[in-house]
């Protein structure tokens, strides 16, 4: 295995995978720390290493809007953005999903202004969780790559037709060199056939896209979209199995780590899970029964899998890099809400961690677990707050 791997920057791994997905139209606007991805793609285009066209838009709003047009015209499309760029796309996000266009985007995760911060957290993608996009979160750069073809395949399925974002932590993954097995072109071709939408903008069959809906019918469109997201749950499982067959790597909506006998289950998504795994190993050495439930698919929400994984835990701790101001983290709310009416439901507490790039160490995780064990954790709190400046 080792010798099929390359060592390269996360952004490069993503760019190479985008190329191998035979994307037709790329449209993106630079923003730290997404820049390396789009620069790599721009270089590939400049060197003729891909047939894709890259539209160098003047803003993120146009980046996604251009893909709305391109996707409706039948192209496989790609964008990448982060933070302010994703926020600027907000209106188009809802629109693209409502129009049922299977655009795929790498959302590099970064915090939101104000104050301005170019550093990593996941406020950006979590705050657009209502928008009707599939959201997949990668722990490492193997996943940032692999989730792309999976996302295309789920998104483009005729029963789904929803846009998808593959989320990767800014800097922590985009700027990290590490070994990655880049999906090989022939295998990608086998796994992901070209995009053949049933309806496209075509003068030979002059359909109207994006008619508006009055009160007699709007709700049904929304429901259809909602239902497609529910269906994406099983579609993901199906596609992941195909992926395993072709590439030998196994994915699911969630990943369990040392969870069978765990009394404390930590739930999180993204790159922090790597650090958590090391922490759990250390804690296990000390006899603590701790496990991890990693959420790969935040939308569709892996409700039943979460339930199965945590129902026997003594306590569940959700760690996440966001906060709904005045409330708590979005993932925490989703999990608690979903579990609410269940009988066998463990106590759940939540932490906002790593906002604005605050580093999270193995020691932090261990400290947090010990705080929870001592029953000193609040229902929701911020980890590692510098109280002295407040």
């Amino acid at each position: 295995m080792m010798n099929e791997m390359q060592i390269l920057e996360g952004s490069k791994a993503v760019a190479l995978t985008v190329r191998s997905c035979r994307v037709d139209v790329i449209s993106a606007y630079p923003i730290t720390p997404q820049t390396h991805i789009v620069e790599d793609l721009a270089q590939m285009v400049a060197d003729g290493e891909t047939d894709a066209e890259y539209i160098k838009v003047e803003s993120e709003f146009s980046a996604l809007s251009a893909l709305v047009g391109a996707s409706a015209a039948g192209a496989r499309t790609y964008s990448s953005t982060t933070s302010q760029g994703l926020a600027l796309m907000f209106e188009v996000l809802f629109n693209a999903s409502g129009m049922r266009l299977p655009i795929v985007m790498t959302t590099v995760n970064r915090s939101l202004s104000a104050p301005l911060s170019i550093w990593n957290d996941q406020q950006d993608s979590i705050s657009v969780r209502d928008a009707g996009w599939i959201q997949l979160y990668a722990e490492n750069n193997q996943e940032t790559s692999d989730l792309l073809p999976i996302a295309y395949k789920v998104a483009e399925d005729k029963d789904i037709l929803l846009p998808a974002m593959c989320c990767m932590d800014g800097f922590v993954l985009t700027h990290t060199f590490e070994p990655v097995e880049i999906p090989e072109q022939s295998l990608v071709d086998e796994f992901l056939p070209s995009y053949q939408p049933k309806y496209v903008l075509d003068p030979k069959n002059p359909l109207t896209f994006g008619a508006y809906a009055d009160p007699s019918i709007y709700m049904e469109f929304r429901y259809q979209q909602h239902d497609a997201m529910l269906k994406a749950y099983e579609k993901f499982e199906e596609v992941a199995k195909e992926f395993e067959k072709v590439f030998g790597r196994k994915y699911d909506l969630v990943e369990e780590y040392k969870i069978e006998d765990a009394e404390i289950v930590l739930i999180s998504m993204g790159s922090i899970v790597g650090t958590m795994k090391d922490a759990v190993d250390e804690l296990r050495k000390g006899g603590e029964k701790v496990g991890i439930l990693k959420i790969i698919s935040y939308r569709p929400f892996p409700a039943e899998k979460i339930y199965e994984a945590i129902k026997d835990a003594k306590v569940v701790v959700v760690l996440e890099k966001d906060v709904s101001v005045g409330m708590e983290g979005g993932l925490l709310s989703d999990i608690k809400s979903f579990m609410y009416n269940r009988e066998d439901r463990p106590p759940i507490v939540g932490f906002s961690v790593g906002l604005g790039g605050r580093d999270v160490t193995i020691g932090d995780i261990k400290g947090l677990v010990s705080k929870v064990k001592r029953a000193e954790a609040e229902e929701f709190e911020f980890l590692n707050l510098r109280r002295e400046v407040l």
Partner: protein, 87 residues
């Protein structure tokens, strides 16, 4: 009718929508005056004026909203707008 995802609609389906009912005034064409110039046809916002074999123009009252542009622009004064008694 089942919804297509994203709300895709067939072309020219508004023809089911008989906007003639909106009319208050109705254009009456006088073939004796008509010079067959086609100006009424060009300007009609409803694009509802057709040409017969003799090149006379006829508004389609199913769609004519009675705006009066044709009457106003007809160089031959061949069109008159009349209050329409529809009941």
């Amino acid at each position: 009718m089942k919804l297509l995802p994203g709300g895709i609609v067939k072309p020219k389906t508004t023809v089911a929508n008989k906007t003639g009912a909106w009319r208050t005034f109705i254009p009456i064409y006088d073939e004796d005056k008509c010079k067959k110039c086609g100006i009424c046809e060009t300007f009609c916002p409803e694009d509802c004026i057709s040409v017969d074999e003799n090149e006379f123009r006829h508004p389609d009252y199913d769609f004519c909203k009675g705006c009066g542009i044709c009457a106003e622009e007809c160089p031959a004064d061949a069109i008159e707008m009349k209050y329409e008694e529809k009941e």
